[in-house]
Symmetry: C2
Amino acid sequence: MIETVSTARAHGGTQGVYRHRSAATGTDMTFSVFVPDHAPGARLPVVWYLSGLTCTHANVTEKGEYRRACAELGLIFVAPDTSPRGEGVPDDPAGAYDFGLGAGFYVDATQPPFDRHYRLWSYVTDELPALVAEAFPIDTTRQSITGHSMGGHGALTVGLRFPERFRAVSAFAPIVAPSQVPWGQKALGGYLGEDCAAWRRHDAVALIEDGARVKALLVDQGDADSFLAEQLRPELLADACEKAGIPLTLRMQPGYDHSYYFISTFLADHLAWHAERLR
Amino acid sequence: MIETVSTARAHGGTQGVYRHRSAATGTDMTFSVFVPDHAPGARLPVVWYLSGLTCTHANVTEKGEYRRACAELGLIFVAPDTSPRGEGVPDDPAGAYDFGLGAGFYVDATQPPFDRHYRLWSYVTDELPALVAEAFPIDTTRQSITGHSMGGHGALTVGLRFPERFRAVSAFAPIVAPSQVPWGQKALGGYLGEDCAAWRRHDAVALIEDGARVKALLVDQGDADSFLAEQLRPELLADACEKAGIPLTLRMQPGYDHSYYFISTFLADHLAWHAERLR
């Protein structure tokens, strides 16, 4: 059961925000969907967008500047939340922004007390896809995925593990190798404990080393991004893709930072790139 | 003296947020400016955007989706705040959203206690234009103005009273006749008292009746806007323009509401329309 929080007409389509009770997380979850106007009975390709640390569905919905391109290209755009929320959901013990609320890292936690609600992997790969496929006019044979920062990590790992489902994968300033950077080490340790095999299943570079492949990969990265050298390290992805023969287009964007000013500048480009692969 | 709050690269230009001490309002004021990349020494036309009730510069800056069009068209985009803010600035006695903070209505208040700080007319027509003309590469012979709701009222009244400065005027869901609607009656009464002549100088329909003219006028209005019938009443503007021979293009947009989903859908259209008139 999906509850409509709001809908508004925008760019010749409908931008909706919806809420439902999630079995995966055991909480209410909110997400947004943009559906361009379309012929009755038509089913449209879909682009999934996974958000970064501290975000909800609302950041990209308000600041992403994707609706015009989606309307022109005939793409549905789905933006989930980044963590469970609500009463009884544990947060980072110190209230840090990079773990707990707003920082689910797209894994199914195995470590108490997070294992009960922090099940974003199941949520974005299983429960939510089934729900939106039923409620919206999605052509499930034409899906692709993108995301930002922590959500870029999510898009890469989801795309690498479901290569038959997603025709293309892109990302903005993704965390490409969480096992090797502070954000990822804290999150994977906190949610998954010391299980090295589990870490590798949630690390794009490790997945590629272990044989996972995607058909096409586009990454934009601002060179004025303050997280570039310590947390993002796109060169690790470039190396892994080169060794694996994955066609990666990595665009270093001069002067751009980590914000939605960066994302909104290039998101329409990504959508056009996805649309070509979703024809 | 302008203090830079932040700058970010976006859509091949620079989105900045700035703060300065305003002589007009006696407070610090914050505003945003987008400057597209341009040849050294070049001066660019500018579009002023006046925001609506409850907004600061940030709403349109984050949600307006104007940067791509401004970059393509070579337009500078300036977004002021809607009221004075800070210690000692009086608000609506009941804390209502439609008077006081976030609701300056682009007038110079004459009524205590508002007359000391609520001087948005002087601010947006005099002080801020001089400041930005000095600090940014603006061609002051090529200016136009637009705005939303209360800011549409501002754009219309400023444009009508400075027809030599602004080559074109447009608005989104403007309050066209504040003297005749509840929002306007409360604001004009509260800021200007019972001075009927002063009210007429801040009422677009009255200004047109009293002989003011603009060269070109474009208005978009959503027909699902919940404020349409009581507060906005675009038919009053259409009547006044028809009688005065002002070329008004009034576009009723089916299904659109009063939000930034509406504005962001059509703002690029307005910018293209302004750019034609700013050549």
